[in-house]
């Protein structure tokens, strides 16, 4: 059962794109909840893609069946976080400020993919747009915008004073 989306292959190796892929994977693996969801980084013909394999725990409606809206929310938020963090020169860990997700089509119980586009990477904040699809990349099932805050030196010092 091969589809356009499902054919994305994990890349590893000494190439630059392979390094970017493993950087993303390393950032994802530091997030316990991303590990619980089984998120993994792949590369398709355009760029990096986060793959969420389907399993029963992700189902929101067992009659259809369909994925839970919150599972897509997690895929979008975590993809945005890894995209923003990998773009940051200091690899600072961003804090998610808000997210707004539009559901476009029913999310079937199958593999889901997400790609990120950095709308703006600033010094203190980052805005990332994420698109999710299943079989056909031209038919997105959800799209979201996530606003992230990058910790500044001032914020770090304030944290130190608190401790």
């Amino acid at each position: 059962m091969s589809t356009t989306g499902d054919s994305a292959q994990p890349i590893s190796g000494p190439t630059e794109s392979g390094k970017e892929c493993s950087d993303w994977q390393a950032l994802l693996e530091r997030i316990p909840y991303a590990r619980h969801l089984g998120l993994e980084v792949q590369r398709d013909d355009v760029g990096l893609v986060v793959h969420m394999p389907c399993r029963e725990a992700l189902i929101g409606n067992f009659m259809l069946p369909a994925l839970h809206g919150g599972v897509l929310g997690a895929l979008i938020e975590l993809t945005a976080r890894v995209a923003a963090q990998s773009q940051d020169t200091d690899k600072r860990c961003p804090r998610i400020l808000d997210s707004h997700i539009n559901y476009l089509r029913s999310a079937q119980a199958r593999s889901t993919f997400a790609s990120a586009e950095i709308v703006r990477q600033g010094r203190r904040s980052s805005l990332v747009r994420v698109t999710c699809w299943q079989g056909d990349k031209r038919k997105p099932i959800a799209s979201g915008q996530v606003q992230l805050l990058l910790p500044t030196m001032a914020a770090k010092e304030a944290d130190l004073h608190e401790q």
Binding site: H68, G69, V71, E77, L78, N102, Q108, R110, D136
Partner: protein, 161 residues
Amino acid sequence: MTESNRAQHSDAVTTAWQFTEQVPHGRDLGMQVVSVNGNQVCMRLTPQPWMFAEEDTQEICTSVLYSLADSAGGLAVFAGALELMPIATLDLRMDYLRPAIGDRALLAVATCRHLTDEVAFIHCDILSESDSALLATANATFMRNTQGQRFQAGGRKKEGA
């Protein structure tokens, strides 16, 4: 606080309540329905270490709060409508006001603000159970009566294409 008032409700709300508690993703996260009062729903979640956003902090991943808001919001549609019908989230916007710390249970309070024949407008607050601190707020729009339209016929044909 967690005293259930399930027995007092109409058939539609009781069925939606049971359905919510059987959702696999809700069970995975350990979500429970605490109460339904009028058009307002309260749900609870006890955080686990695998829900954290970082290995070395105790902060719960925002996406767990997102899932809780989506589930509580969906049940609030039935609490407002008092009628069973397929629904689907059209959009959901979350604002994360404070970090959610992992040793405190989360409460979601979702209210059905307005209903039309086609749409339900929901507001949801996520609170820390121990001190009632507001952790996040959500506004969501749900489509009502989705059966047979985009959420059943839509997309199925493509399976295996």
